[in-house]
């Protein structure tokens, strides 16, 4: 997206260069003007692709056969690249490979604008983009992989045959992918551990004196790490140019529509502040709280204390269901002072962080309640903690006991444990919902504890427990699920296309 005067000189060359490889790191913003129709279609279709990736990641093991197959079908249907071969022949129908690469490139950059706005959006976008990249990289042949590495300045040394011999056993025992037979035929790269954090974190690599020894086939982790870092930096920079985007009356609604499509609902907006009384919490926790919140609530009542992770997860959830700051302070204080904390210490040590949650202290960010993804993936509970996702973080045996206590039928427990075993934690939770609410099949796809609460209240006829039906604004999620036809026309009807893309360009220039 360049100014037209400059564009004429460079476009052709750089574009050929830009799209010469099936995969790119999106280092360069697009250098051309695009039509408004394309702008919308591209953005909405990429969003559909990313949503697909998110859903597949919940239901299948990443890069399993089924995962790959389903993703391939979806890529194909949406005209995104799905096979790495560089085929320039015009296909009998549909766009050429080059056209697909261009679409991939441009759509990525449009979504960057929409998804750089908040920490939550960024996290979601990065996660899906990384997964998409992983799937595509996996599909490249070894030569293409090496080429991609070198094009992106990731030139690491391979170790000598002697060194490999000396370290043979350790290399074999450090990597799940490598067996004794293949150590000889594989190149091992010696990489500073800071460049391979995912491998270090999960101990999937041999580490010695600050260097990791990575077999060629695992180099993908390094590439992903690099991709993630670059994308995360780029988004932070793009976010800085956001005030300019926000002041643009034509762009802003369009981008907002795009960005809200990911969760559908924004649980940080409190429509029913103060509609819940503190006395109701105990009964609500039994009826309408998801297991994760029921569990922290119970342990708070028992121990009169919760450690930081639990306070954050539960505190933000309570905020999301409508506790006001004053209520929250009263709630936490009355519980904590039953334990070892006196009122004075509470005010000194804990009140701050509760005000913080409501955006009244510190950076004054209004924190969003945690989504299931966040509860499952970040900050796993350790000794003395009670937060986290019980489907993910409890021993199956303990989970079973808990479910029995909560009167889930034996056959229901078996179904839930089966889902847990397949690592489908959210589906397990949804099953728990169905079983405890007597619904055949839930009409929603669970991705947020607060969503669980709202849906539960709906089923239970809400109005009785809460003085007014929870009313969280419904965002146009349909955009992403019902296809391009539902694109936000309102925002886009009568604009000067060239002007708009030019401005888009300037946002990236600032970055």
């Amino acid at each position: 997206m360049q100014f037209s005067s400059r564009r004429k000189k460079f476009t052709t060359n750089s574009q050929t260069e830009l799209y010469s490889h099936p995969l790119q790191f999106y280092g360069q913003p697009p250098l051309e003007n695009i039509s408004l129709t394309e702008f919308e279609t591209f953005a909405v279709e990429r969003l559909k692709l990313l949503k697909t990736i998110e859903n597949l990641g919940v239901s299948y093991v990443k890069l399993s056969d089924q995962y790959i197959k389903k993703l391939e079908v979806e890529s194909k249907a949406l005209n995104f690249l799905y096979r790495p071969e560089a085929d320039d022949r015009k296909p009998q129908s549909g766009p050429t490979e080059q056209e697909k690469r261009r679409k991939d490139h441009i759509s990525h950059f449009i979504l960057r604008l929409a998804y750089c706005q908040t920490e939550d959006l960024r996290r979601w976008f990065i996660q899906q983009e990384v997964d998409l990249f992983r799937y595509r990289f996996n599909d490249l042949d070894p030569k293409q992989k090496l080429e991609l590495l070198h094009r992106n300045n990731l030139q690491y040394d391979t170790i000598s045959v002697e060194e490999k011999k000396a370290l043979h056993d350790k290399l074999v025992n450090s990597s799940y992918a490598v067996s004794g037979i293949t150590v000889e035929d594989q190149d091992f790269y010696k990489v500073p551990f800071q460049d391979a954090l995912d491998l270090v974190r999960s101990r999937k690599v041999y580490l010695k004196a600050g260097y990791v020894y990575i077999p060629h086939q695992d180099i993908v982790t390094i590439v992903l790490n690099d991709f993630r870092t670059r994308l995360s930096k780029a988004l932070a920079l793009t976010a800085r140019s956001l005030p300019a985007v926000h002041s643009d009356e034509r762009l802003q609604p369009l981008l907002n529509h795009l960005s809200h499509a990911y969760v559908g609902q924004d649980y940080s907006i409190q429509k029913n502040v103060g509609k819940i009384s503190l006395e109701q919490i105990d009964s609500l926790s039994g009826k309408s709280f998801p297991l994760c919140m029921r569990q922290v609530h119970q342990s708070l009542r028992e121990n009169h204390h919760l450690r930081h992770g639990g306070r954050m997860q539960y505190g933000l959830f309570l905020k999301g269901i409508g506790l006001s700051l004053e209520q929250a302070l009263q709630f936490w204080r009355s519980e904590f002072i039953k334990g070892k904390v006196d009122s004075d210490k509470f005010d000194k040590a804990y009140a701050y962080s509760i005000r913080h949650m409501f955006g009244k202290e510190g950076k004054r960010t209004d924190y969003t309640p945690y989504s299931c993804m966040k509860v499952i993936l970040s900050n796993a509970p350790s000794q003395g903690d009670h937060h986290g996702c019980p489907f993910r973080h409890s021993d199956p045996e303990l989970l079973k006991q808990k479910l029995q206590v909560y009167k889930v039928s034996p056959s229901g427990i078996i179904q839930i444990l089966e889902l847990v075993k397949g690592m489908h934690y959210q589906l397990a939770c949804q099953k728990y919902f169905e079983l405890t609410h007597n619904v055949e099949e839930a009409s929603f796809s669970l991705n947020h504890p607060n969503q669980y609460f709202i849906e539960s209240q709906k089923v239970l006829g809400g109005g009785r427990d809460i003085k007014r039906e929870t009313d969280v604004p419904q965002k146009p999620q349909e955009n992403s699920t019902k296809g391009p036809s539902a694109a936000p026309e309102a925002a886009a009807n009568t604009q000067d296309v060239a002007e708009m893309t030019e401005e888009l360009d300037s946002f990236f220039q600032d970055a």
Binding site: L197, D198, Y206, D385, H393
Partner: protein, 426 residues
């Protein structure tokens, strides 16, 4: 003097003495200045003080050693915490544009606290410690020190007794100080084997192949396990603790061992029976039968507070700070004498202040005259302070700190040489 003789009520009286005559300011500054290799490194460091009545002041910073000394002697903090090196002077953080004041660097730190081991020690609970469970800290230091050096290549590790129930590690290498939050959490997770909270019974699950890091850690744990777990904690003695151990074995093995234990009461022999079962299992089934190793690790492997290590801006209690509850000084631990390190022998502030009042020996007198002759007026105060701590039981801990600093200073020299060479090139 036993710790029971310490009374926190006397702190207002003796802290001034401690900061005036005993606190090793020059070593302390030498450490945090890191040879002056990076500009404003000391100046932009955050200190925070806990004053009387739990008054907590954050974002203290000092331009020179002299200023640090003066302020500490004025405020007499009950407790000192060290934070990050920031983009600006922390005491001016309110004056810089919001968002620009950022934590840039800090030592990579680890915090190991005995309370995290409550489910595996029977001798004490919560904040209590005794010589029996202290072995857990020894194991933790051995395991982590090895891994940080051999695996991560760090060299400058300062281990410090927290003054009450745990230990801290300060990894001071330049590369460690510059680690990102993501890198810190990756290191901490690499080093963490104990997973799950109170709702997880089996906290260690090994899978094949066993990573070299875990093998090396097991070598350490195996060395201490018989004495610590079997004898001192007697985990295979009483019925309920036996049940806890057996709960970590596969069901068929559990049944068998429950029978075998009827006729065998000696913990060592019981453990041998359990190991034999593990060996048999490993011979028959193909994968993942490491329950004897898992048990050893669950009972002995270090339990890290990952959140402390992760944050660049996380504060940690400073070496040579007093622990207000016990009065003990937070002292460096000499790894050469780790196995004999006794937390109960660590001096309290009242003890070393008392030692100051003891009459000097003749030898000491002579020495002090000698130095007085040689040095001018300005150095006299400084050298008196040196002699002051040398007359107390703090001396050997300061010496250990000195040795740590000497080794680190060699790396600064290298850095400074490189810098001046670069300048010559221009």
């Amino acid at each position: 003097m036993p710790a029971s003789d310490y009374d926190s009520a006397c702190l207002p009286d003796i802290l001034p003495l401690y900061y005036r005559r005993l606190f090793p300011f020059s070593q302390y500054y030498r450490w945090l200045n890191y040879g002056g290799v990076q500009k404003n490194y000391f100046q932009n460091r955050e200190f925070s003080f806990t004053l009387k009545d739990d008054i907590y002041v954050r974002y203290q910073s000092f331009t020179t050693q002299n200023e640090l000394e003066k302020e500490m002697q004025k405020m007499n903090p009950y407790k000192i915490d060290i934070g990050a090196i920031y983009s600006h002077r922390p005491n001016q953080h309110n004056t810089v544009k919001s968002g620009t004041f950022q934590a840039l660097e800090k030592e990579l730190v680890f915090d190991i606290d005995m309370t995290d081991y409550d489910d595996v020690r029977s001798c004490c609970s919560a904040a209590e410690i005794c010589p029996k469970c202290w072995t857990l800290m020894t194991i933790a230091i051995r395991v982590l020190d090895r891994a940080l050096r051999d695996d991560f290549g760090f060299q400058h590790l300062l281990w410090v007794y927290s003054g009450r129930r745990g230990v801290h590690c300060w990894v001071c290498d330049e590369a460690a100080r510059k680690l990102s939050v993501a890198a810190r959490s990756a290191v901490a997770e690499y080093l963490s084997l104990i997973k799950g909270g109170d709702d997880t019974m089996k906290k260690v699950v090994l899978s094949d192949p066993i990573h070299p890091f875990i093998r090396e850690s097991l070598v350490v744990v195996e060395r201490y396990f018989p004495l610590y777990a079997l004898q001192d904690q007697d985990i295979l003695g009483r019925k309920e603790s036996v049940d806890k151990v057996l709960a970590l074995t596969p069901e068929d093995v559990r049944k068998q061992l429950q029978q075998d234990f009827q006729n065998e009461k000696k913990p060592e022999n019981r453990w041998k029976l359990l190991k034999d079962q593990a060996k048999r299992k490993q011979g028959t089934s193909k994968k993942g039968q490491h329950f004897e190793k898992e048990i050893m690790l669950q009972y002995c492997y270090p339990r890290l507070d990952v959140n402390v290590s992760k944050g660049v801006n996380h504060l940690l209690k400073s070496p040579f700070s007093v622990h207000p509850k016990t009065g003990r000084i937070s002292v460096p631990i000499d790894l050469k004498e780790l196995d004999t390190f006794d937390p109960f022998a660590v001096p309290t502030i009242s003890m070393i202040c008392e030692e100051l009042d003891r009459p000097r020996t003749v030898e000491e007198e002579e020495k002090s005259e000698e130095t007085n002759d040689k040095e001018n007026e300005k150095d006299a105060a400084e050298s008196r302070k040196i002699r002051d701590y040398k007359r107390t039981s703090l001396a050997k801990y300061v010496k250990c700190f000195d040795q740590f600093l000497d080794v680190m200073a060699r790396s600064w020299k290298g850095e400074l040489l490189k810098k001046s060479d670069l300048q010559k090139d221009f």
